[in-house]
Symmetry: C2
Amino acid sequence: VAVTANNGNTSKPNIIIMLMDDMGWGDLGVFGNPAMETPNLDRMAAEGMIFPNFYTANPLCSPSRAALLTGRLPIRNGFYTSNAHARNAYTPQYIVEGISNTEILLPKMLHKAGYVSKIVGKWHLGHRASFLPLKHGFHEWFGSPNCHFGPFNDLDRPNIPVYDGAQMVGRYYEEFPIDKKTGESNLTQLYLQHALEFINRQAVTGTPFFLYWAPDATHAPVYASRRFLGTSQRGIYGDAVRELDQAVGALLERLHSLDLHSNSLVFFTSDNGAALISGPKGGSNGPFLCGKETTFEGGMREPAIAWWPSHIPPGRVNHQLATVMDLFTTSLVLAGVTPPSSTPLDGIDLTPALLHTRTWDRCICAFVCLDGCFILMTRNSWQEFHQGINFCPAQEVHGVTTHNQTDHTQHPILFHLGRDPGEKYPIR
Amino acid sequence: VAVTANNGNTSKPNIIIMLMDDMGWGDLGVFGNPAMETPNLDRMAAEGMIFPNFYTANPLCSPSRAALLTGRLPIRNGFYTSNAHARNAYTPQYIVEGISNTEILLPKMLHKAGYVSKIVGKWHLGHRASFLPLKHGFHEWFGSPNCHFGPFNDLDRPNIPVYDGAQMVGRYYEEFPIDKKTGESNLTQLYLQHALEFINRQAVTGTPFFLYWAPDATHAPVYASRRFLGTSQRGIYGDAVRELDQAVGALLERLHSLDLHSNSLVFFTSDNGAALISGPKGGSNGPFLCGKETTFEGGMREPAIAWWPSHIPPGRVNHQLATVMDLFTTSLVLAGVTPPSSTPLDGIDLTPALLHTRTWDRCICAFVCLDGCFILMTRNSWQEFHQGINFCPAQEVHGVTTHNQTDHTQHPILFHLGRDPGEKYPIR
Ligand SMILES: [Ca+2]
Ligand SMILES: [Ca+2]
């Protein structure tokens, strides 16, 4: 299924997916953050195309990442809340499950077209040996199977490991320090260097590559390198955003200097909305309601920028409704790989939007398909609510937000997202 | 006090102030509106400089406009709430007061440098004969002394008049229809045509001009021309924004086609934040708290774009704290007019920010000067609250927002606006 583009050769472009962690729609200047401290991302948007209606598949790290890499909804790929302990919805150390061997991940599919794949950063699809990235199609990895929680100091719960390929090379808070008091850590720089080094090597070999760049500096506990600490109006969270923004700039600049820019699709987004329970130490979801761990717009809608000079027309806003799962299908189409026929896919091909600025009607269903397109994106059900936690501090809307897990299946709350993007005025 | 610029002749540029009505910080694509339907304003921003920290002087029409045109705080220029009826804070028909003869307005000052001045749109500084624009320095006027409230049908309270110069040419809902059912009115097109016609004439004479373009389509009842109705994702409010956006594009295009662009400073902003009491029929204040009629950020912070090709460097974000009153002083500096020495001014010269992208520390005081710079911008006092009205629907923050007028002078509520632009986490 090779795509035919009007504007030049799109055959087997390099694919770079930059997936941020808990970064909100409202964290970028181009998406209206008042601090406007993301000049590199804003330039990326000016040179590329932004998708203001881009969604994750679930407002939590693991299911969102599983959806991206499988092109399938969490309820299909196994990363969903199936019991009170939400055993498949996230992967702390005491959870022993992970990505199923029956799932076919993006790097494995792209390899059919000769792609070499690397993941840099957070994996979060299982920490046991059989679940790790190199067992699921990635050729290279630098990063960690989990979040950088810690420090831990008991043998039953050691610090989270960091891998280089199949080799464990240390642990967070030990060989890879994070100062929780000052917020200092050089991890984003390490993730940048490993990505640059991979791009350099691929430029030499000329092999098409897939780089999945997944730094986690904006996930609590938020961190930044020393030279970024204290540089943002927003505090430590803003410092982390500024460092990531600069890293994005460095990566795009490297593509330019290696003359790979016109043959590399770069897509920037986030795995879920900003965590409002972190208060001013977390990110911003702009005008949207609530955030991480809720299925309101603040939890589900993500910043999204596509960049591919001479293929994606510059400076465009595309209102196409799209999801992280589409990145799977779109990547396959661009690589000329036939999507797997054995399992149903939920992602669709976005190349008409990317290359020709098209939009079309579409129904996105978070879990089950009902009538109407936006219902399931906005309903407050199957949330990963812990009993009694308020994930919407200072954003409570009477009759809409709750502190408890509530099943709204029979009585979904409907909003007109065009007129009421903040979900404050239910129309039913 | 002629300014010396690095980048060419800035002597007596034309000055165009585009003042929107009840438009919020979050209504423009470039300020993060999810609909992103303002391509002309976004391009104006890309070619110019945006000021994310730009404030009005009061979250209501009349005092804000009085502050802009006098360069002085409402408490100085007389447009403030002095009693229970707020007689000087706004100017409905039964209010007989207006702008004082002792105030010296911007057009009168600019005339010293040979400028010809026109106001197109809403005046709102008094509707009796002695208060009208031509009595206070403007040479021309097309528009109305008041809001387009109505229709009224009693002799004591006739419909609001529309003027062309000193001549009343009709009334809203009569000669100048507004269909409150469909939202249709061609007023924005009339305001556009009168502005274009003025610019055309000034291009011929070569006289420097001041155009104060003050359309009010985004003030309730919101209206748009027929061809814009139903074109926005946002409903009638978005239709009005789209029409204004297109008018801005037409005005900038006209400056280009008449070769006036490099000699015209255009400044776009709004008189106060979006009115949240209008719900989905009103605008958006983005991530900020509350809106019109409150002194929270949502009421006071305004979208602001400065445009002056070959003088203002393109694509810049300037974090300078600035206010509508600065437009008075800045205009005088650019025109080479010495500001009046007889009365204290609250506006300052922004040319170092505009022409050289500079920023500097500054204390802005809404009413009285206390220690600290941001305190008075954020405190919830002297609000034009009517008893028991909630101006912050679905945005209530415990201990912060109130439904009643509350004097916080002795115990101001403080926020760190960098880390908490939404004013949800008081630090005191
Ligand atoms: Ca996450
Ligand atoms: Ca107003």
